[in-house]
Symmetry: C2
Subunit: 349 residues, 2 copies
Amino acid sequence: MTTIERPPPRVRFDDAQIEMSHGAGGKASRRLVEGLIAPLFANAVLAKLSDAAALSLGGAAYATTADSFVVKPLRFPGGSIGELAVNGTVNDLAVSGARAEALMAAFILEAGLPTTTLRAEVEAMAEAASRAGVAIVGGDTKVVEHGACDGMYVTTFGVGKIDGRLTLDPRSVRTGDRVLLSGPIGDHGITILLARGELDLEADLSSDTRSVWPYVSALLDTCADSVRWMRDPTRGGVATSLNELARDSGLGIVLYEEAVPLRREVRGACEILGLDPLHIANEGQFLAIVAERDADRALAAVRAVAGGEGATLIGEVRAEPARQVLGISAYGGTRVIDMLVGDPLPRIC
Amino acid sequence: MTTIERPPPRVRFDDAQIEMSHGAGGKASRRLVEGLIAPLFANAVLAKLSDAAALSLGGAAYATTADSFVVKPLRFPGGSIGELAVNGTVNDLAVSGARAEALMAAFILEAGLPTTTLRAEVEAMAEAASRAGVAIVGGDTKVVEHGACDGMYVTTFGVGKIDGRLTLDPRSVRTGDRVLLSGPIGDHGITILLARGELDLEADLSSDTRSVWPYVSALLDTCADSVRWMRDPTRGGVATSLNELARDSGLGIVLYEEAVPLRREVRGACEILGLDPLHIANEGQFLAIVAERDADRALAAVRAVAGGEGATLIGEVRAEPARQVLGISAYGGTRVIDMLVGDPLPRIC
């Protein structure tokens, strides 16, 4: 590791206290990380601010990632905190071009937590890890008093070797590149929102939590040298991930709004609640920027994997509007799509 | 990673709910991990149940470790949660024979946490990392509602290359080997207890939080091939670490009770509170089992490093009492020293 001089913070963090929005994955989260944490931890690796850090270990390039999971409720249709804790980490590595090789899990448990609840989550983690072909090699357990955490929190670390055929860098993105999305958006966030039972709203919907590695792997086997950038659009959704890309690449991202795959139930819930599906968290999807020449082959490769049938090319990279995401409707209308602001959906993962 | 068949659990975990003692690092913690978590996560690496896991990355042997920190209060004489989060992880790697190369940090923050509090801890982490010569390369930030965590929790992950001169294995321990302790015990645990202000007790005492790598490094440079086993006696204290060694080696550990270095203030507080200093957590000490032939050289090497002057040979390995730790007083009296039971000092790290 090479430590570099602390760079001047590009972003100021003047907020007097931490708010829910600082954990939502959108603008406020970015300000907290860029304006406070990153400048203090300044070094060459963290300066990239990606979800996973690349390290040279034993002469090979490895991706590592860390994520805390505080989702509420602990169990929801299609998944649970334990499953998210594994899949979320596997997916952070996948979009870094790495198959997860080993995970570690650290538990913070509330005194009084029923053992059946803990056992169910440890089992969910073991099963998700088994499905993803990754070992959980160690961890830690702490207990806090009843009331000092909300049931249980899980922090997962993952490590995996980066596919040597791949060079991911937002600065390698070029105009004409296509935006590939692996499937319908918003299932996870809306499922969690409904599972809390606070809204008078029901829908036949499940979280999309899954490992995206099989799809990423198919993509890399098909055209690794045409893949410029990948991201799993979790907190803050597709809009936030693509805004980060627009900013980091200096280019404009144009979305064909009607092309974005979206279940009827998610669209309906978002309309009623005044939410933009592009801001809703996903836990089993990924975005890839692929060179135009290979975009159709890339799409076919992802669609050929079971569960990848919903993959779609949802947009393209243009020179303008620089550093912005622009939605274009079928009728030619346009709108600027911003990052998530505030936290309409707290504790989604 | 090779996944092995799930071994039959040697320990049953029948408790209906999680209690503070399950997080205290003693017997109850061990039952939770061995009886519930490890059998479900079963694989070749976790089966060793050490604080750090050894992984082969890029053909080299690396140690990895994960720890959550939930210490209360966040700041205390001599340190703070951020400093512990770095030193604790650096030390877990050190006693695996690895200098920490990279850390990741995941924060769970409570809404309403003053930014000054967070900034102070991020600064403490950056400073501790700088002192230990390790980079913090990434992380995560989640925010939960006010009341859903106690200020902030930090989970740290670390990785470092294992010194190739070293083979650490409790099964390599032999009768006649000596027990080396790096300095006085109990400072951290008693400092935290007093810092809570719940007891009508005061003492001029500071946490011993520090990186133990300089001492471990000196030891390895002197006699790496005579070092059989190392451990940082945190939760559960020296007694718990040595009981784990006794169990894993099948041998008996004899402690010369009067030789164990102990500050007057710690001894006094323990007497008043009815605690055994051997059960109190340390955050800047380590234990090493060293072959008899090199024990004196090993001691001299650790003592020669600034801050290592308090190192002492506190005991030896005998065939009997097998799988137990036995204290011997200067007058020839003996007592069996057990692992920590219950949780007299919750949230110590």
